[in-house]
């Protein structure tokens, strides 16, 4: 039986699969939250979702619209203050995976969520950092989910908000950052992984129905493909069913699918 799905669903399912059962995951709002909750409702029932507003072990029945929705507090194992979340749990080294989004991303997986254009006279003023700079540096590893285009995967960031591999090579280690950095970037076209030596992102897996030309045309730098680059496994019927039911439940409660931010 062939199953129809959208590129966004492919992205969310691929991102969800990256999260292993039992991992302690610091979740950003929007796409990362959708993927993390899909993981929790499918292959990773024991994943521990941590939100920067204070809930630890949140199990929201529908997707939270904001980072501090009541259903996060009600379903959490415990709710701590925001200083405690950042000081004891993130900086304290308790987070296995930081799950982030991005407005702009460069070839070394550095992230901009601050401005498009110059800082003093921005073309677009974006929301800013939130928790991402310290999540990207302190979580043991980082997953990034972003829709791919020349506007999002850029040659040069207008502002470095949160770091990936800085200028590549061993520059992250030399900077003394606690965590290992990004292990994968999941887009609606493909999955990128950092090269072990140069740390430049390369295409590791291409989503079904996407070709190399599309990826090249939607990347702001000269993108390279790994030698063993294959095709991403398509979403399974069960994954799509759970994702669609989650979004439908969310729409009933919020009147929207819960992914706008």
């Amino acid at each position: 039986m062939s199953v129809d799905y959208t590129p966004d669903e492919m992205m969310t399912v691929s991102a969800a699969r990256m999260l292993r059962n039992g991992a302690v995951c610091f979740v950003g709002i929007g796409l990362p939250s959708t993927a993390a909750n899909l993981a929790r409702l499918t292959h990773a029932p024991d994943v521990v979702l941590v939100y920067e507003s204070g809930p630890i072990g949140a199990k929201p029945p529908v997707l939270p619209l904001s980072i501090g929705d009541g259903n996060l507090a009600e379903t959490a194992d415990t709710v701590v203050s925001t200083p405690e979340i950042f000081r004891y749990w993130l900086q304290g080294g308790r987070i296995d995976v930081g799950f982030l989004g991005a407005a702009q991303l460069d070839r070394f997986a550095n992230i901009n969520t601050t401005v498009v254009g110059s800082y003093q006279k921005p073309k677009v003023r974006l929301p800013g950092a939130g928790g991402a700079p310290e999540i990207s540096s302190s979580a043991k590893e980082v997953l990034i989910v972003v829709k791919q285009s020349k506007k999002t995967l850029v040659e040069k960031l207008d502002f470095v908000t949160s770091v990936g591999f800085l200028t590549g090579g061993d520059s992250r280690e030399k900077a003394g950052l606690a965590g290992r950095g990004p292990v994968a970037v999941i887009t609606d076209l493909c999955i990128l992984r950092p090269n072990e030596v140069t740390r430049e992102l390369k295409v590791a897996s291409i989503h079904s129905g996407v070709d190399r030309e599309m990826i090249v045309a939607n990347t702001g730098w000269k993108i390279q493909f790994e030698e063993n680059c294959g095709e991403t496994e398509r979403p399974r019927t069960e994954e799509l069913r759970v994702l669609r039911e989650l979004k439908a439940r969310t729409a009933v409660v919020h009147g929207v699918s819960g992914e706008a931010a």
Partner: protein, 288 residues
């Protein structure tokens, strides 16, 4: 010593032109009623501090109350941009807005430093980022024991902190629960503290580890039912997600925003009347 006042009296007595003002509440318990009253009393030249400016500061910035904003995430949660904030930063409307931009972790640590009577916060943060290039108050310090270089940032010490909570007893002891954000730290870092509450009760009946602000750290306490709407108060009412979405349209255009502030804030007597007027507006929107 907490004094029971009306919200108008509390703002008049404690918030002055030129003050630094922190109004905290992490998505939950955002003190909207107090924000409106500051606009209504036409305070000016305020240095506003808040981790997530949210709609409350979008309203204050658009109404011309702020000369400076210290923040770490300025979006409309679940919806998109804060248009009045963006218009101020991108186009200096209705007046130029100085910004001091930090990260959540930094802001949280800086409130802790303020509450702890320390001059600065220390954290592992900002390494490799461009923040220090645009904010010269983000600096570094070398650990005297290990030699590790850490980020050092100034403590947040507001003239006034304003928060909303679920209850206070008749003496003015304040109880809040659910997502607590940085309210306790923000209150203890400030010179003066205004708290609005959903209700006044005989006794708090709280567990020993509950988050309570004793009345002797609070300057003024005011009963303002639904005072956190369109955000939510755990155990009392839900977040008004429809309003957050509607704000995108209201705030996108300067004239529409001005008309909204005039009708809903400047010409209403208090938050109770605002809620009545808003109810009418909702009904009109449904009828159209």
């Amino acid at each position: 010593m907490a004094e029971w006042l009306s919200l108008a009296e509390a703002i008049a007595a404690n918030v002055r032109d030129g003050d630094s003002v922190a109004m905290e509440g992490f998505t939950h318990l955002i003190p909207f009623a107090a924000g409106h009253e500051i606009i209504r009393q036409r305070r000016r030249e305020l240095s506003l501090i808040r981790m997530t400016p949210d709609l409350i500061y979008d309203q204050l910035i658009g109404a011309g109350c702020a000369k400076k904003l210290t923040f770490s995430w300025g979006g409309n949660p679940g919806v998109g941009s804060l248009h009045r904030f963006r218009d101020a930063v991108e186009n200096a409307w209705p007046r130029p807005l100085e910004i001091e931009e930090r990260s959540h972790s930094d802001m949280a640590n800086a409130y802790v430093a303020g509450a702890s009577n320390l001059p600065f916060a220390v954290l592992r943060g900002y390494t490799g980022s461009d923040f220090a290039l645009v904010n010269d108050r983000i600096r570094s310090i070398t650990c005297p024991f290990t030699g590790e270089v850490l980020a050092a940032t100034p403590a947040v010490r507001p003239d006034v902190t304003v928060i909303h909570a679920q209850k206070a007893d008749w003496k003015g002891n304040v109880l809040l629960w659910g997502i607590l954000g940085v309210q306790k730290e923000a209150a203890l870092a400030a010179k003066r503290v205004i708290v609005t509450v959903e209700e006044r009760v005989e006794r708090l009946d709280a567990s020993p580890n509950a988050c309570i602000l004793p009345q002797w750290v609070v300057s003024a306490v005011c009963v303002v039912p639904r005072g956190a709407t369109p955000s939510y108060a755990h155990g009392y009412y839900e977040r008004d997600n429809a309003f957050y979405r509607a704000w995108d349209r209201i705030s996108r255009d300067r004239e529409t925003f001005n008309a909204w502030v005039e009708k809903h804030i400047l010409t209403t007597e208090d938050f109770a009347e605002y809620l009545r007027v808003l109810g009418v507006s909702h009904a009109q929107a449904v009828c159209q």
